[in-house]
């Protein structure tokens, strides 16, 4: 039996892992790459569907006519009463600042 086509090669996979900001061990990487390729094989079924060129995309199923849309709130700032409860969740928080390691300087291309 021929080996199934693998669009997500080890190089493509490594690039994705970098973009996704994930550190993986070897066994995780093997499993994830294999499953990604299996899922991609399923996704390819979409390519076989003939779509009318005028068929629009649906960002969600249920239409939102104007009378279904909730009225927007007034654009006025409000004090957040839970600010301390929110900052208290930060893993490292000192003197009103969330602390992180160095952020190296990068030059945008």
């Amino acid at each position: 039996m021929p080996e199934p086509k693998e669009d997500i090669t080890p190089d493509v996979f490594d690039h994705l892992v970098q973009l996704a900001a994930l550190e993986l061990d070897g066994s995780q990487a093997d499993y994830l790459r294999q499953e990604l390729n299996k899922q991609l094989a399923s996704i390819r079924e979409l390519e076989a569907i003939k779509l009318d060129e005028n068929l629009p995309a649906a960002s969600h199923g249920v239409p939102y006519p104007p009378n279904h849309k909730p009225a927007l709130r007034e654009d006025e700032w409000e004090t957040c009463p839970e600010a301390k409860a929110i900052t208290a969740q930060a893993p490292q928080f000192e003197d009103g600042y969330i602390i992180v390691p160095d952020i190296p300087h990068t030059t945008l291309e």
Binding site: M1, P4, I8, V12, F13, L16, V17, L19, A20, A21, L22, E23, L24, Q28, Y31, L32, E35, L36, K38, Q39, L40, A41, S42, I43, R44, E45, L46, E47, I49, L51, L55, P56, A57, A58, S59, H60, G61, V62, Y64, N67, H68, K69, P70, A71, L72, R73, E82, A85, I86, Q89, A90, P91, Q92, I98, V100, P101, D102, I103, P104
Partner: protein, 530 residues
């Protein structure tokens, strides 16, 4: 039969006539939990024991003291002649994907294990305001990513109360298991591809996925923001209606919560269903799935037992005066899973970028030299395999060079799926259905560890439920009987937008018509020793 085995509506009546107290009701639930639930799910738990395999393990965080204290408050209100609300004194559980103020809100993930929410999700807030009593948070697939609840970082994961060697379904497995085992009367779940309806089917309870926008998503830790729907898990249509009365409606905190008037879901339950049009579609009696070895697509009829259960329900509805419309085409049903593989992953990847080890949640204990290291290590250690899989797939199919081929195309296929529903339910169309009757799932509950790890096969468990998520349409799953292994079989009714009242009405009619059926006598296996 104990208090915890009655319906929420019966308990409500008993509380109001002072035949029992909220404290007695809570204690009955806690006693049931103590007997059947076993140890709650925890991070880094000790290996599973034989004893564990006989328990339900619905909970992550059980809050008995808080529940009892609230029950005493509710009892004081009743004693003072005050009305605590339509859910007054009714214990419920909350899928741990909802934020509840001052409680751990974990999403069943290590990355949020230490997160204590500073606010409460709108549907939970509304249940509490209606007098409900939260017993705590129940387990699920990590970030809701799964159909068996096994991917939770909090182990042991939930088991099916009808047969603890089987999964309860997912991702709202803890919700369905807790209600099915009599640990709670109601549970708040979420449904992104079938995550309320599939576990409801597996655990022999009622699960309603409302129309997208019918129930606010504020405070729900997001998976697929265009697909997620909070909704009730209950033991009857009437109890689900009682809960819908509390949670449905617009919300200033959620711009997608529709400003559509909320009917009284209980008021219409007993209306005659004579003349209602119920459809059957051949596209919901077969499943299409990729062969694991060859990758070829195989088509298979749903098992005979499941098909026969649906056809028996057809006869029940026909006898009640409903019109049965056969051969309703829903030709794009088979594309629900492939489209879901794309759309949900893109949305999941976007939603999961916020978890970075900086603002809240898990941060790596190892020394990170710079910020990107901190991100990589925190996310690498904090996320389990299923979130990682979704992030990576979401990034791949939405990448600039593939977006048109995959993401954009999936969104257009979604339009086709939506059109299937519009055609079936168009009041001026050929079929003019009030509801489409289908099996909820292509199988009954599968064995624990049976397919866990095979992310493709696991996803195909949702093939008959996911189209309604793409379409945004409401759907309900309710018990229709049992298979030869004694496992519950779920029936599903799908309806037009905002037709929850009709779906509940039809479900209630079926429940009444089959109330004396032998299979209604059957009790979950975990209760046999109770």
């Amino acid at each position: 039969m104990e208090l915890c085995d009655l319906s929420a509506l019966d308990i409500s009546k008993m509380l109001r006539s002072r035949q029992t107290s909220a404290l007695e009701v809570v204690d009955s639930c806690l006693a049931r939990i103590s007997k059947v639930d076993g140890r709650p799910g925890t991070l880094d738990s000790s290996p599973e024991t034989q004893e564990d395999t006989r328990k339900v393990h619905a909970f992550i965080s059980l809050m008995p003291d808080e529940a009892r204290a609230r029950a005493r408050d509710i009892d004081k209100q009743f004693a003072a002649g005050e009305e605590p609300g339509p859910l007054g004194g009714i214990p419920f559980t909350v899928k741990d994907i909802f934020c509840v103020k001052d409680t751990p809100s974990t999403a069943a993930s290590r990355i949020l294990a230490n997160f204590v929410s500073p606010y409460t999700a709108t549907p939970v807030e509304r249940m509490l305001k209606a007098g409900g009593i939260s017993l705590g948070k129940v387990n699920l697939d990590e970030f809701t990513y799964g159909s068996s609840s096994e991917s939770s970082a909090f182990q042991p994961s939930p088991r099916n109360p009808w047969d603890t060697s089987r999964v309860p379904g997912g991702s709202s497995g803890g919700s369905a298991a807790s209600v099915g085992a009599g640990e709670a009367f109601l549970s708040l779940g979420t449904d992104t591809a079938g995550s309320i309806r599939q576990p409801a089917a597996f655990c022999g309870v009622v699960g309603l996925k409302p129309t997208y926008g019918r129930v606010s998503r504020y405070g729900l830790i997001a998976f697929g923001s265009s697909l997620d729907c909070p909704g009730p898990v209950a033991r009857s249509a009437a109890d689900a209606a009682l809960m819908m009365n509390a949670i449905a409606g617009a919300d200033t905190h959620d711009a997608t919560a529709a400003a559509v008037p909320v009917p009284d879901y209980l008021a219409g339950l007993d209306k005659d269903i004579k003349g209602m049009r119920i459809g059957l579609s051949p596209d919901y009696f077969r499943i299409t799935f990729p062969d694991a070895q060859s990758g070829d697509y195989l088509e298979q009829e749903v098992p005979d037992e499941i098909k026969a259960t649906v056809l028996r329900a057809v006869e029940v509805y026909r006898a009640l005066g409903a019109e049965i419309i056969e051969d309703v085409p829903m030709p794009n049903t088979r594309y629900g899973i492939p489209a879901y593989f794309v759309i949900s992953r893109v949305e999941a990847a976007s939603n999961l970028h916020r978890f970075d080890g900086v603002k809240y949640g898990y941060r790596t204990k190892s020394q990170a030299n710079e910020l990107k290291d901190l991100y990589r290590r925190s996310r690498g250690e904090g996320f389990g395999l299923q979130p990682k899989l979704r992030i990576l797939m979401g990034m791949y199919v939405s990448a600039a060079q593939y977006s048109e081929q995959y993401y954009r195309r999936a969104l257009r296929v979604r339009t086709l799926i939506r059109r299937d529903f519009e055609s079936a339910f168009d009041p001026n169309g050929k079929y003019r259905l009030d509801a489409l009757l289908t099996p909820t799932t292509p199988t009954t509950a599968f064995p624990m560890k049976g397919i866990y790890g095979d992310s493709v096969l696991m996803q195909y468990a949702d093939q008959l439920t996911v189209p309604a998520n793409h379409s945004g349409s409401p759907g309900i799953s309710f018990p229709g009987g049992f298979d030869s292994a004694g496992l519950p079989i779920g029936l599903q009714l799908l309806g037009p937008d905002f037709s929850e009242a009709a779906l509940l009405q039809l479900t209630h009619a079926y429940e009444k018509a089959t109330a004396e059926a032998d299979w209604r006598e059957k009790r979950p296996a975990v209760l046999e020793e109770v």
